[in-house]
């Protein structure tokens, strides 16, 4: 079965650089979520989109922005990167009428800021 695809899997950037993470949801899933997991931490919600519109916003820094495009893939744009942005970034998708709230996660992008 098709899964959530994230690219790149690994990314190394310098401080103050920009980064763009991409997410391709499972086909026919219309909601996309972004989560950030720091070292030894649980995943924290950043932002979500339903039908290409932002549906909820969590603890996402103003330096970050995201969008869901016409083909339903999503991009997380990160600017003025800081050392503390080093983390695993997960994208998840869900169908609108998911049975019991389940979200399906991608493999993640490991961002390292030097």
């Amino acid at each position: 079965a098709a899964g959530v695809i994230q690219s790149p899997r690994h990314l190394i950037k310098e401080k103050r650089e920009t980064a763009t993470l991409k997410c391709y949801p499972i086909p026919r899933h219309d909601t996309v979520y972004w989560y950030q997991q720091g070292p030894g931490q649980d995943p924290q919600f950043l932002i979500s989109f339903y039908e290409k519109m932002q549906s909820d916003k969590g603890s996402i820094p103003d330096r970050f922005s995201a969008q869901q495009l016409s083909d339903y893939h999503s991009e997380l744009n990160m600017s003025s990167l800081e050392l503390g942005d080093s983390a695993l970034y997960f994208c998840a998708s869900s169908p609108r009428l998911g049975q019991e709230g389940e979200q399906f996660f991608g493999p993640g992008t490991r961002l390292t800021v030097l």
Partner: protein, 112 residues
């Protein structure tokens, strides 16, 4: 304030026995509860979920029990297998398409 709490950072269980992972929550608005399994450097894998109108949901070796009055849920894995060794996250959401709030995770070790 941790809304989803997993008080056991780790748990060791003999292969073939039952693994019981526990989770407590504080927000009475949660309506959906989920368990995810996670290996290092991989994304969380959805295992099983339950809505607040049920008290039990079963899928193969995995059973989730929900006690709403106690704001407590548990995941039972029986029989435990070596491949079950991983970090298990308890999670909750208020609605089907709402963000998921995760616990800190419990690392399960299945002993040979």
């Amino acid at each position: 304030d941790q809304q989803v709490k997993q008080n056991s950072p780790s748990l060791s269980v003999q292969e073939g026995r039952i693994s019981i992972l526990n989770c407590d929550y504080t927000n009475s608005m949660f309506d959906y509860f989920l368990w995810y399994k996670k290996y290092p450097a991989e994304g969380p894998t959805f295992l099983i979920s339950i809505s607040s109108i049920k008290d039990k949901n079963e899928d193969g070796r995995f059973t989730v029990f929900l006690n709403k009055s106690a704001k407590h849920l548990s995941l039972h894995i029986v029989p435990s297998q070596p491949g079950d060794s991983a970090v298990y996250f308890c999670a909750a959401s208020r609605d089907r398409d709402d963000k998921i709030i995760f616990g800190k995770g419990t690392r399960l070790h299945i002993l040979p």
